[in-house]
Every structure is written in structure tokens, then in C-alpha cells.
């Protein structure tokens, strides 16, 4: 099969590790060979969390310039991970900012989001951008951003996975109390990327 290299970036607590893992589980169900990599440990405490899923190859990580798809859970982190992209990359990003503490204590300036999106748009094949936090809140669970992003990934039709398989995987692994809001969030993401 064609190799697809997918990179997820976000901030500790946003749930991108769960997103990449669920995608991995869905690949297994669909009989697609996939390997997922995660970062655990010290880096997780409020820092940048990156994970990756590679379909159709053996290496568990994605080198600079080699992502087919970049999924950003936070806009400045999407921008930071732009070095994972090439001109053919599809970028899907949340536009809701989470400024790091360094900005608060004056050690850095948070980038202008609109300008950032323009830079990304000019350099890759497709940019899909929306307020994922708003969609998660609308779905009834602010912590369901990862489901929104997964929905957007499937909706973008850049991977050979159908929404049913993802929904089945979400249903199998989500606690009953969050299932409805998670599936709703997934659908909102799905719709957001189809319009985008």
C-alpha cells in the first residue's frame, strides 16, 4: 500500500496521544499495517507532545519534511512543526491558541494566528483550519478536541479509512459517559474538514 506518514502535535493534556492510538487501533481493525510512536515522560509536563502514525512502512517516526499529513492541536505548535512538512503535505489545524508560559513572563511573543495560517497555506498543498475547541465545547465536552481532530482527519479523505471504522473504535474504547459527546465531536470535525 501507499505509505502515509501522519504527525500529531499538541500540548500536554490535549489528548493527541489518544488520537494517534485510536487511529492505530482503527488501522488494525481495517487490516492496514500501521505503527504509532509516542513521547512519554518528562517532556509531557505542559510541554509539546508529538505522536506519529505511519501506514504502510516500518519506521515508527517521521523525519523533517516527510509528513504526508500534519495534525496540529494548537496553532503555534502547528507552525513549529511546519518543518515536518513538504509542498505536498496536508495540514489540519485547530486555531484556538494556548500561549505557553514563556509568553506570560515575557520570554517570547505568541505568533499572529492569521499570519501563521497564511504562511502554512502558502507552503503546503492544503490547509484545513477551524476552531476545534469551540466544536468540542459544542459537542458537550471540552476535552473532546482529539475526537474533533480525528473526525477532521477522516473528513479530509487523505487516509484510506472510513468514518465507520473510526466510530466503531471510539465506541469500543470510550467510557459510556463520554461516548455521545465524543461521537458528536468526531462528527463536527468530520463536517469541518469537508467544508474546509
Amino acid at each position: 500500500m501507499e505509505t502515509k506518514r501522519i504527525v500529531f502535535v499538541g500540548v500536554g493534556g490535549q489528548g493527541n496521544l489518544l488520537a494517534s492510538r485510536l487511529l492505530g487501533e482503527a488501522c488494525i481493525s481495517a487490516g492496514i499495517p500501521a505503527v504509532v510512536s509516542e513521547i512519554h515522560g518528562m517532556a509531557q509536563r505542559g510541554g509539546i507532545v508529538e505522536s506519529a502514525l505511519i501506514m504502510g512502512a516500518k519506521s515508527p517516526i517521521v523525519s523533517k519534511g516527510e509528513a504526508d499529513i500534519l495534525i496540529g492541536f494548537e496553532p503555534s505548535e502547528t507552525l513549529r512543526a511546519l518543518n515536518k512538512c513538504n509542498k505536498d503535505t496536508v495540514v489540519i489545524t485547530n486555531i484556538h491558541p494556548l500561549p505557553p508560559f514563556t509568553v506570560v513572563i515575557g520570554q517570547g511573543v505568541y505568533p499572529d494566528i492569521d499570519k501563521s495560517l497564511d504562511i502554512i497555506r502558502d507552503n503546503v498543498s492544503l490547509l484545513i483550519a477551524f476552531d476545534g475547541d469551540e466544536l468540542a465545547a459544542k459537542a458537550g465536552n471540552p476535552l473532546s478536541l482529539n475526537m474533533v481532530m480525528l473526525g477532521a482527519l477522516v473528513g479530509s479523505r487523505v487516509i484510506p479509512l472510513k468514518e465507520d471504522i473510526l466510530k466503531e473504535t471510539i465506541s469500543k474504547t470510550t467510557k459510556q459517559t463520554f461516548l455521545e459527546s465524543n461521537l458528536k465531536a468526531f462528527d463536527f470535525g468530520l463536517a469541518a474538514s469537508r467544508i474546509g
Binding site: 500540548v11 500536554g12 492510538r21 492505530g24 487501533e25 488501522c27 488494525i28 499495517p33 500501521a34 505503527v35 504509532v36 510512536s37 509516542e38 513521547i39 512519554h40 515522560g41 518528562m42 517532556a43 509531557q44 509536563r45 505542559g46 510541554g47 509539546i48 512502512a57 516500518k58 519506521s59 515508527p60 517516526i61 517521521v62 523525519s63 523533517k64 519534511g65 516527510e66 503555534s76 505548535e77 507552525l79 513549529r80 511546519l82 518543518n83 512538512c85 513538504n86 509542498k87 505536498d88 503535505t89 500561549p99 505557553p100 508560559f101 514563556t102 509568553v103 506570560v104 513572563i105 520570554q107 517570547g108 511573543v109 505568541y110 505568533p111 504562511i119 507552503n123 503546503v124
Partner: protein, 618 residues
């Protein structure tokens, strides 16, 4: 039933590499498992912890890696299969026992899981522990993917029993923390009880005994070599004239690169999974069929040097390269692009890597270093100590979440060496300077390696303050218990030890226990310590809020807000505490209600009393 205990062979599951190792141990019928947690190995023992009662084997979080290795050794000598897990620097701690265990050998399979951390994702160094196989004489095996993490754990027990030696299974962070499909095998029944058969003239390592044991170990090298020559994890793949030697996670990068570059028919891969002893005959056969060789191995040129040496002894002459200019670095981990590029350049074929987006036009992004959590009690204690001792005191620190205190504006770590290093190094700094010294160590780290150093400090009349940051758990590695933890909420029955009693038992006379969230009392305790001549200890006792939440012991506290009418923008809260729940918007200091856990430390620090609890709990 725990998902990893399913006894139906051919079940396929997406497993974390570390879960795959745990499943391997289950399939091998492990009877005793021990560990000291440490990234990237921690999920192996955490997986054992979640299932050991149900599965019926013995498991413990040991006090440190040396003890953990001895626990596994005692079991394996008694005829029970055992496994011990640790990170690479943990092997340094365990190495004293490991070296002599190679002499003593085992009666049942004993597997030492060693997790290296190239790129130092969560470690103080990136040492290459393949040298430990060479140093100890113990066999080493190296898996390349999730399936092999499971399969080779099972195989390691068999190798161990064939050689009657502990076997080291070496992983790297990328393998521990990848997820891949794993097909299960059948589960061997657990044998959790054995019998210690007395044989003092084999198992008591006195010089007269060990002289003979060393001879036996050297003889076992030849047996191990034979196993390595025949191992299915040592493979020659392909028949091209370009030779590539690789191991571990790099094997994946090599296979993908060859595929991407379309040079499969030109290449022969020698994959070394049973990597010590190196299979000399197989290497000779490989070398005799290729014209030049590239060695793809992360960190040190271990295989490269040994293959050159084998080539020399067999009278084979050809370019054998690995590390060097335009080749591979000795630093950090490799990635698919680096391996593809280097293979392309070494064998002179066009590189097919896509061009990276030009990011030179991007303005510099604000850093996002990891940070102590909102409401972390370490932050409060750092505040109190700094208030009393000032920025010029020297603050040796240790291994744990609190090491993050190194970052400004806290800037509360001046020296970090290794587990327990904060106390021993304080003795030296205090003896060699006239500067004030305050050391910080976590509760788990204190038990791990702090106690002998504290005894040293008292016995040799040193003069400094030790702060034990007791948050009731091993926080950084994922909230594992330690001897000071009440494990009842986790459903296990262990004996809880008092840090205060131990500190007093070490001979410390000036001991204070404070709740760091009480700022005035903490400052007073710091002052009392500063005024004392000799070793003083402050036990800063408050539960890790993340752990409290995990065990459902979190206190319900109202989050705080900043009363903008009262706030005069001193920014003491922002500048001295750096709590991630606080931020500035439109020149106003604000608190993120959803992050604030209501620890109230900032409210005590504010000179205007402008930080107040919200009326209703969020």
C-alpha cells in the same frame, strides 16, 4: 480480565512496545518481576502492576535498580523465572550486582530489560548500554518492533536457561514507546515457587569460588556465541554487493530507506538481534559476499568496531564505515530521513527525500518547555526557600519533576548528576566553598539513593539544608508507589515507612515537617534551618495534585481569581511562582479557572491580597 492475559494464541492487538514486553513475560510464565520505574521503561512494570494479582505472579516496585536486580536474581537462583526492568542509568545502579550475577548464573530464566534513551527524551545522559554486555559477559538481544518486543522477551528466557546466565534485552525509547500490531503466542503456566538448593561453593562469591566462576563465564561465551550464530534474530537478508549492518530500531529505517531508494536488489542486510556475542562466522559469511559495508547503529560505534576487528582477524579487507563525517553521528537518535540520506550518499545513489518546507521566514516561536503543574507543591517550597536563602545559595537538585525548577523564573537547580546525587554533591560543595547550600530531593529518590548520602552528611559533620520534596508518589515516571506510600488505594498490601523516622534514624537532629502550601510556616521553617549549624532537613509534605486526582483524594478547593480593583501589578505571583494557571491579558494578571486547583499559594504571596477564591466551586 486484563487484556494481556488473554490465553488465545493468534489474537492480534495494537500494543505499546512496553506492553509487548510484559505480554512476553506472561507467555514465558514469569514467576517474579521487579523494577525501579524510569522513562522509557516505566510502562512495563506499570503493566505488571495492573495484572500481577490476577495473573498470579509476584511483582514489586523495588527501592532501586540494584535491589530490583537482586530480587530477580534471588528468584532465578531459586528456580523461578524472573524479569527485572530499568532504564539505562538504572543499569549503572544495578551494575554492581549484575557483574557478579554473570559469575553466579541462574537456575531458571532471568531477563534484565534495559531501556536506553538516545536523544535523552527523559534522562540525564544517553549512554550506550550495549557496553554492559561486553563488560559483564552477559548475552544481549535487541528487538526491532512491537512483535519482537514480545517474541524476544520469550526467547530471552529460553536463552537464559540454555546458558544459565541472565540475559539483557536492550530497547531504545522509540521501541518502548511505539505501538504496533502484536500476535499473541500461548501462555506457559506460571511457576511462582521454586526451591533454593544450597550450593555455597558455587553461589558464594568469595575469591576462591569466583576464580572458578570466572572461568565458567568465559567458557559460556563460546556457548553463547554458538547460540548467536544460529539465532533467528541474526539474519542475512538479500544478496546484493552493498552491505548494511544494523540493529534495533534502525533496522526499520534501513528497510524503509532501501524500499524508498529502490535498491533492494543491490543490498545485503546483516541484522543483528542477538547482538552479543556477535556471530563471527555469520559476519564472515556476510563480509565475503559484499564489497563495502555501512553500519547503521545509534550512539557508539560498537558493531562497527567489532566487525572491523572480525574482518581483520579473518584477513578480509574492505571499507567498513559507520560513524564519521558525511556518515552517522555518535549523538542522539536516528530517523528515517537521516538513514535514507546516508545510505544514498555512501552507495552513491540519488536521494529521493522530499524537500522540507522553507521555514527560514518564520519568526521565532515562543518556547514551550515542560513546567511544574498548576498547584504543584514543589513550586511553593521553592518560593519559601528562595525567600530565605536568596538567589546566591547553591541548590543541588535531583531526578524528578522538581528538576523542572531549573527553569526561570524559579531557577532553583544548580547541579544535577543522578539519583541521590543532590546530597553527596552538597557535602562536597559545602566542604569546598563558603557558600550556603540547600539540596532538593524527591521522596522516591530519597529512598532510592539518598539515605547513604544523608548518613554520610551527618557522620562527616557537613553543614547544609536538605529539603525532601515529599509528594507521596513517584510522580515523574507515572505515580508509582515507593516505600513511603500508603498503597491501600491501589489495592495492594505493603508496609509504609516514615521518611521523618528514617531521617531521624540517620542521625539528623534538626528535622521539620511542613506543608509547603502554608507559605508563612514554610518560610519560618526555612529560616530555622538556615539559622542551624549542621545538617538540617525540611520534609515538604503535600500530595502531588495529579496523583491526588488519580486516586480520588483531591481536595475540593475553589479556584482563585484576581480582583482587578485591588491588583497593583507587582507581578510577584507571575515572577516568583510561574504557575501555568496564571497569565496576563490586556495588562491584567488573570487566573485560568479551569487550570487553577485552589492551592492558594499565589493568594499568600500577593502583597495587595488581590487574589481571592471564587464564590462557587468550579
Amino acid at each position: 480480565m486484563h487484556k494481556l492475559l488473554i490465553d488465545s494464541p493468534d489474537t492480534e492487538m495494537l500494543l505499546l512496545g512496553n506492553e509487548a514486553i510484559a505480554r512476553g513475560a506472561i507467555e514465558a510464565g514469569v514467576g517474579v518481576a521487579s523494577c525501579y520505574p524510569g522513562t522509557p521503561s516505566s510502562e512495563i512494570p506499570d503493566t505488571f502492576f495492573a495484572m500481577f494479582k490476577e495473573a498470579g505472579f509476584y511483582f514489586e516496585y523495588s527501592t532501586n535498580e540494584k535491589v530490583a536486580l537482586e530480587v530477580a536474581a534471588g528468584a532465578a537462583i531459586s528456580g523461578v523465572r524472573s524479569i527485572v526492568t530499568m532504564k539505562h542509568v538504572g543499569m549503572n545502579v544495578a551494575s554492581d550486582s549484575l557483574m557478579t550475577m554473570a559469575y553466579l548464573g541462574v537456575n531458571a530464566g532471568m531477563v534484565v530489560i534495559n531501556a536506553d534513551d538516545p536523544f535523552l527524551f527523559s534522562s540525564q545522559n544517553e549512554q550506550d548500554n550495549r557496553y554492559y554486555a561486553r563488560l559483564s559477559g552477559l548475552p544481549m538481544i535487541e528487538p526491532t518492533n512491537a512483535q519482537e518486543m514480545k517474541d524476544m522477551t520469550v526467547a530471552a528466557f529460553d536463552i537464559s536457561e540454555q546458558l544459565k546466565l541472565p540475559v539483557i534485552l536492550r530497547t531504545t525509547t522509540r521501541l518502548n514507546h511505539l505501538r504496533g500490531a502484536v500476535r499473541f503466542g500461548s501462555i506457559k503456566p506460571i511457576q511462582s515457587k521454586g526451591f533454593f538448593k544450597k550450593d555455597p561453593f558455587h553461589f558464594v562469591a568469595i575469591p576462591a569460588v569466583s576464580r572458578n566462576l570466572h572461568k565458567i563465564l568465559v567458557e559460556k561465551y563460546d556457548q553463547a556465541l554458538e547460540l548467536s550464530e544460529k539465532s533467528k534474530y541474526n539474519q542475512i537478508i538479500g544478496s546484493g554487493k552493498w552491505g548494511i549492518v544494523t540493529n534495533g530500531v534502525s533496522m526499520n529505517y534501513v528497510q524503509d530507506a532501501i524500499n524508498d531508494l529502490g535498491i533492494g536488489d543491490k543490498v545485503t542486510i546483516l541484522r543483528l538481534g542477538f547482538s552479543y556475542p556477535m556471530p563471527e562466522k555469520m559476519i564472515e559469511k556476510f563480509l565475503s559476499n559484499v564489497e563495502k559495508v555501512l553500519v547503521v547503529e545509534e550512539l557508539e560505534p560498537v558493531m562497527e568496531n567489532e566487525i572491523r576487528s572480525i574482518a581483520q582477524s579473518k584477513g578480509i579487507s574492505m571499507p567498513i564505515k559507520g560513524k564519521g563525517n558525511n556518515l552517522f553521528p555518535r549523538l542522539y537518535e536516528y530517523d528515517p530521513g537521516l538513514v535514507r540520506k546516508t545510505i544514498a550518499s555512501y552507495f552513491n545513489v540519488p536521494d529521493t527525500s522530499p524537500a522540507m518546507v522553507d521555514v527560514s521566514a518564520l519568526s521565532e516561536l515562543p518556547g514551550r518547555p515542560p513546567n511544574l503543574c498548576a498547584g504543584c507543591p514543589h513550586r511553593a517550597m521553592y518560593y519559601a526557600i528562595k525567600k530565605v536563602y536568596g538567589p546566591d545559595a547553591i541548590y543541588p537538585s535531583d531526578i524528578g519533576c522538581y528538576t523542572l525548577g531549573v527553569l526561570p523564573p524559579l531557577s532553583m537547580a544548580d547541579l544535577v548528576i543522578c539519583m541521590g546525587g543532590s546530597i553527596g554533591s552538597a557535602c562536597g560543595i559545602e566542604a569546598a566553598t563558603d557558600q550556603k547550600v540547600v539540596s532538593f530531593i524527591g521522596d522516591s529518590t530519597f529512598f532510592h539513593a539518598g539515605i547513604p548520602a544523608l548518613i554520610n552528611a551527618v557522620h562527616n559533620n557537613h553543614n547544609f539544608t536538605l529539603v525532601i520534596l515529599d509528594n507521596g508518589t513517584t510522580a515523574m515516571t507515572g505515580h508509582q508507589p515507593h516505600p513511603g506510600v500508603d498503597t491501600t488505594p491501589m489495592g495492594v498490601d505493603t508496609t509504609q515507612l516514615s521518611i521523618e523516622s528514617i531521617v531521624r534514624g540517620c542521625g539528623v537532629e534538626h528535622v521539620q515537617v511542613v506543608n509547603p502550601l502554608q507559605v508563612k510556616k514554610s518560610i519560618a521553617a526555612a529560616q530555622a534551618s538556615k539559622d542551624f549549624d549542621g545538617i538540617s532537613v525540611i520534609i515538604s509534605k503535600e500530595i502531588c495534585p495529579l496523583y491526588a486526582r488519580a486516586i480520588q483524594k483531591a481536595k475540593k478547593a475553589r479556584p482563585f481569581y484576581v480582583n482587578q480593583d485591588k491588583c497593583k501589578q507587582h507581578l510577584d505571583c507571575i515572577n516568583h511562582l510561574a504557575c501555568p494557571a496564571m497569565y496576563i491579558a490586556d495588562n491584567k494578571t488573570m487566573i485560568n479557572e479551569s487550570l487553577c486547583i485552589g492551592c492558594a499559594v499565589c493568594a499568600q504571596v500577593c502583597p495587595e491580597n488581590a487574589i481571592l477564591p471564587l464564590k462557587k466551586p468550579a
